[in-house]
Symmetry: C2
Subunit: 262 residues, 2 copies
DNA sequence: GCAAAAGTGTTCTCTATACACCCATGG
DNA sequence: CCATGGGTGTATAGAGAACACTTTTGC
């Protein structure tokens, strides 16, 4: 296990571009709540976004893809770049507070690969990517520096490293503004879902309630839904229809932007 | 003059972050056409976006600000990051074709500062910024590697270095999608303008004609225009009113996004 | 007077919104 | 029976699109 860490840090220093990183905001939707995938640092109570570095022989987009796959097991999901964070204060881990908080991990590595600690504590410019995934299809997996990898509700984010909180906020703003051009429905929901699921998803992103009956009619009029048999929920009320997307039509419309006002 | 070039290249290598650059798409509007500010390489018939590097002690945003000011003389105009280009093929100048085309410049520098040529021909990741400026207030100024700095019509862009054409296309797409959230009117037009000017601006960005009378009414209803005396154009027709923006109201609405459909 | 562009008006359609109403389900 | 949430209907206000009409200007 120790050898793994040494190999990993050596590889990073030798094969990756210095001073440039990628952070992924991997977003899911479960129990009517938006969630984000986070990693917890070994030994310390501090969390961070799944991130990584760009190999010298790899496109930045490929690197993001690779990082996403390593943390979730997922290939070919919606993944897009949204912003690059370049504040001069952005040095990975080298701020006083950070150093103190991550002392244990860095000390462990320092004993094994001093070069890596120098490499990783320099100033970094990070490019943020966001992915929209179906939580139920993911198999979260921590990286070499973390011991936990979990879905956290957006309304209840733990203490984050550096500016990672800011990065998440930026994504949420991006989601809201670009909503009409993003395949949120098809990416975040399970194959079959109810109109209520979809509405709650929109409400979570827009952070405001929408009128139930109008939402349903507006959505259905878009014409990319397939209606299935009803689902008996066991609740004391009428059972809702299940829907799925006509993927062709859905993607076509999302490309152009569904001209919606909320 | 030679000493300047040596000083410049030495400074860049010593004081800037390696492998990271900034390219600015500086956009203006004149004679009812969108224009972009471009530089022409010394000795060669190849053009490029105004760009530069990030000093080790400077935020990325500050660097973009500095580059913009050096090329246009402008401070505090609308300037925003829009995308980061990280293809592995993105090495500044080191592709065969590029090397051939830029032979003269590189040879000149090579004789004076070999280190710089190595530094600048490595793989670069560049972050694109776009600025919206009033052309009439700019004083274009070439950089150390170029001998011309000019406004070029978007419909007639000369041969560009590397992926700079792609970068410009990406900006235009961004403008279209984000239109309701961008202060295009106040940034690109002179202080006083006619409704036709504004309409032509929107049409240039959206690349489609808009209905004159409806455009006028919709715009005026937004409530951030100040109407001034009429302007006699000398043409054989009714003189149009001049307008300016109520900056407070304009910026407020742009923040939220003017809920427009075109 | 005439052509051309500006400004305003009118009509029709479509959308958004609010809310009423009935339906299905389990207790 | 009732309470709860689902699905559909309807009425009203406002936005968008097309186009008619009038006004102003220089020739």
């Amino acid at each position: 296990m120790d050898q793994n860490l040494i190999d990993f840090t050596t590889q990073v220093v030798d094969e990756c571009l210095p001073g440039k990183s990628i952070d992924c905001v991997i977003i899911g939707f479960e129990k009517q709540q938006l969630k984000v995938l986070l990693l917890k640092w070994k030994y310390e109570d501090i969390w961070c976004l799944p991130g990584g570095f760009i190999r010298k022989d790899e496109d930045m987009d490929q690197a993001a893809q690779r990082i996403l796959e390593m943390r979730t097991g997922l290939k070919s999901v919606y993944l897009n770049q949204f912003y690059t964070f370049g504040s001069k204060k952005r040095s990975r881990l080298n701020e006083e507070v950070q150093l103190t908080r991550m002392r244990h991990v860095l000390e462990e590595i320092h004993g094994k690969n001093e070069k890596f600690v120098t490499w990783i504590t320099q100033r970094f410019i990070t490019t943020g990517y966001f992915a929209l995934v179906d939580i139920r299809k993911t198999a979260p997996h921590p990286d070499m520096l973390s011991d936990r990898c979990e879905w956290k509700s957006l309304s209840n984010i733990p203490g984050l490293m550096m500016d990672h909180k800011e990065i998440i906020l930026k994504v949420m703003e991006h989601l809201r503004v670009q909503l009409n051009y993003l395949p949120i429905g098809i990416s975040l929901l399970p194959q079959k879902f109810t109109m209520q699921d979809l509405q709650k998803l929109y409400e979570a992103i827009l952070k405001k309630p929408l009128e139930r009956s109008n939402f349903q009619r507006k959505m259905l009029k878009l014409g990319f839904f397939i209606r299935h048999e009803k689902q008996l929920t066991g609740a004391a009320n009428k059972a809702p229809y299940l829907y799925s997307f006509d993927e062709m039509k859905y993607n076509e419309l999302i490309e152009k932007g569904i001209g919606f006002r909320y």
